[in-house]
Amino acid sequence: MSLRVGLALLKAELDKVWARPILEITVAFMATMAIFMVQPFTEIVDHSKFSIVFQSALAGSVSSTVASLLLPLVIMCGVLMALSFARDYESGLMLSILSVPVSRKMFFAVKFFAVVLPLALLSWILTTFFVGLTFYSSPWLVLQLSFYALPVTFLSLMFCGGIGVLVALLVKRSIPAVLTSLLANFFFWFLTNIDTLSSGGDSYANYLCLTPYKGALVFLNKLLGLAPKAISMTDTLEVTLSAGAFGVLAVFWACVLVVPMFVYFCRRFEICE
């Protein structure tokens, strides 16, 4: 019963959020960023070591593609999430839907995942596609490794979606909410994307790998079995912490904004536009 209601609402939301040019713009934006990461596999290696080198090159390609997709994901997720919530509040659609027997929990979850899920799926599909351009000879391995993109981008998207909801519920006007969310999301992305090597310092490296997006990328690298690039730093957190620890960190960042916003929306938020 309530699953049927949820699905009907989800379909309506998907149609609304991803209406005509939005999906196309998002795919174009993501493809533009990812295409720069396509590099031919040209290493000359000993025959016996080929499969190991091949696999690690493939894993490296997945990692760099996902890293390049993060900016479009963060921007689109922040913008669409803020727009989705603020526009519904402003137009009165939120009022209409929450006046029929639809629980606030379901409404929030549907609106949130109507933005996050398609973006996570897109990032997985595009990663598979662009990695597959180079490594098409072993499609099975490509699928296997690029699958890791899904949980990692999903968790990152929950964080930036949380920023979007926070901004939308505070600002409550679509255009200001979209702009604020865009800036806030870009700011967080920027904070976590300063190059570790050029900035130097172990403590700085430690700080960076605990930040939301960088932490998620380290989690991805650990899942893919890639060694940290900075060989000189042997006792930084990036080296010493396990994949599981970074997984927990990614889940923490994913929930840190969304869960309080969810509780706030369900318990306290007033619809009085």
């Binding site: 019963m1 049927r4 209601v5 009907a8 609402l9 309506a12 149609d15 609304k16 209406a19 519904d88 137009s91 009165g92 659609l93 009022l95 209409s96 839907i97 929450l98 006046s99 029929v100 027997p101 639809v102 629980s103 306290r268 007033e270 619809i271 009085c272 536009e273």
Partner: protein, 312 residues
Amino acid sequence: MCREVIGEFKSVTKRFGATTALDELSLDIHRGINGLIGHNGAGKTTAIRLSLGLIKPDDGCAKLFGFDCWRDSMSIRNKVGVLYEKLAFYDNMSGLEQLRLMAKLKGASDSVVKLRKLLCLVELDEGAHDRRVGGYSAGMRQRLGLAQALLGKPELVILDEPTANLDPLNRTKILELVTFLNKEHNISFLISSHILPELEKICDNFILMNKGKLLRQGKLEQMLSKTSLSVPFVKFVVRVHPVESVATFLEGEECVEKLSIIDGSLHVIVKDVLLFKQRLPLLIGQAKASLDEVKMAESDLETVFKSSVKEV
């Protein structure tokens, strides 16, 4: 006849920053047709949103069907349909699709045929059912909203300014529909409006509000008796020159019940309209006065409302 009370507000207060939208408002909603009446900004919309659990009262307690409006709003929303002033739909859907979605959300398993019938009941033309809602006119959106409010056999339908976007002909039609649904399907209504004469004819229970406070509530006759005006008489406003001499002539007439001079014009409560209309020109002639204008005063509800606002 004393009707069952299905909802009540008990000194409900709601503030938005510095403005007090509801100020210790207490009211009863009865089974039947309730009219919620007040000027713009009186707090009608706020009261309606509060009753559906969309906003939280700062103070006091609001209940519908025995459920607390804020904490138990799901139980209330199962029994209530609502049409807001501000209409919003999924604009990329057709009217029928929108209605089907809302039916699903309300847990009503109405077939497409039934939904089309509902759209015809609210007089949305057949041709518009499958067109995008984004292209609807204000009146069509209003009808779609009304159909939405009627979905799933509600016990109470709340209409916030339902006639605001409609021309006079369609206003009457909507109000006729309300009466029909109340009689035939036993649906109760709470209708907010600032246009008083149109509600006067159809409501059983009137709730008069001003600046977030309840002025008066009850049946029209009850309220009329409280305001020192008797019901069966018709009020006239006569503008003559000079007023005083005409007043002395009119005083002894048997068709006149009561007479007063307000703002330089004569307010006459008349028992016998025909006789009054015959006598007036003669009396004015006798008083050697000149007549500027004779008109029926405002409707009863307007009289009650205005006198209540003045009393406060």
